[in-house]
Amino acid sequence: MTCKEFQEVLPDIIDGGQTVEQESHWKACRECSDLASELTLVSQQAKILRGGDEPSPRVWNSIEIALRAEGLIRQPAAAFTLVPSPAPRWRMGWLVPLTATFLLTLGVVDYYLASKPADQVAVVQPASSTKPVDDDDAQMLEAVSMKTPAMRAAYEANLQDVNAYIRDAEASARNNPADEEAQESLMEAYSQKNMVYEMAFDRSLR
């Protein structure tokens, strides 16, 4: 067996067994023997890299926030917590009546606006003066008030924005169930709401 032939099958030798011919070359050839030993060492030592590092606490924090926002964590009703479980209202089934109500309201508003001259159309009030859509958002805003009161107005305004985005995206997805873009928009809207909750509960900014 030549050195070239031996080195061609070296990966199989290191990972598995070797034939009599290969073993005999290993013993006879110093250069191939050194190479094989070194590569075996590299392969074996690699295992010390397994599972040795730990992510920062921020990673679990972010995961937990996302799980709560998506409704995968569901707290018992009796337990008091500052961190709400918003998800049941986020699932499509729950939002059918909400979306229907919204669309009906939208239709009425559209009809009203269309029938009025432009200068008589009332200016829509800023988002901050409107109540949040649900109790989970209210609880989140309450948590923000306790943690960073100066930021509450910003959170409330942006929550209104993303909730409006979700409503529009859900309506669009419902009207066009086969439209991938509509589904993408819906996921993006949810992702933005998730981001608001994530920032609100980011313990690192306390």
Partner: protein, 200 residues
């Protein structure tokens, strides 16, 4: 819904944690995370050589797993399921960055070059144990494609047929890239050992 109770004298077992996580128990999710976070994070870190990205990927892998936990039926080990998911998450990220997951060829290197010996004094043999930090740095300095195969096979213990399926290459390609990765690491470790020996 009953509140999850911990076992007397200890935490939830993995099987219990899985069942309770399916019910939405926060403690159960955290138990599963704590059981596997080091393995997943290390894998992501070895493959990306970037701590911020590794943390992002760890988060993504666990989220994907937890979203699907309702479908886990216990046919395979939970850790295997999680591990595969983590590998896929990392590989998708590497593909997204247009980084070669597996280099099909390396125009800078041939088989002859990898076994070339420098003239002059004999090369000292690489022996003994290699400290963790040195090998970690060496792996981080590998080109991304080599690093992927090396981490999957030698660090994480995947077989070549599994690697081929994961990264989308042939078994032969996986083997040859692993060999090249080991050769490169050997050279890096020998160089760093030689430099260390020179340092007073």
């Amino acid at each position: 819904m009953a509140t999850a109770r911990k076992l007397q004298g200890g935490e939830l077992s993995e099987a219990e944690a899985i069942e309770r996580a399916k019910q939405g128990d926060a403690d159960a999710f955290q138990t599963l995370y704590n059981l596997h976070k080091r393995r997943v994070y290390s894998l992501c870190l070895r493959m990306t050589a970037n701590t911020a990205e590794a943390e992002d990927l760890t988060q993504e892998a666990f989220l994907q797993l937890f979203r699907k936990i309702g479908t886990f039926r216990g046919e395979s080990a939970f850790s295997t399921w999680l591990h595969r998911m983590s590998v896929n998450v990392v590989l998708m990220r590497l593909r997204k960055k247009n980084l070669p997951v597996v280099p099909l060829d390396d125009p800078l290197e041939t088989e002859e070059e990898t076994t070339k010996k420098e003239p002059g004094a004999a090369d000292p043999l690489l022996t003994g144990s290699v400290d963790r930090l040195r090998i970690q740095r060496a792996v981080e300095s590998l080109p991304p494609g080599y690093r992927t195969i090396f981490v999957l096979h030698d660090v994480e213990g995947y077989e070549h047929n599994e690697i081929a399926e994961l990264v989308g290459c042939s078994i032969g390609n996986s083997k040859s890239q692993l060999h090249k990765a080991r050769m490169k690491l050997r050279d890096i470790l020998k160089t760093s050992r030689a430099e260390k020996a020179k340092t007073p």
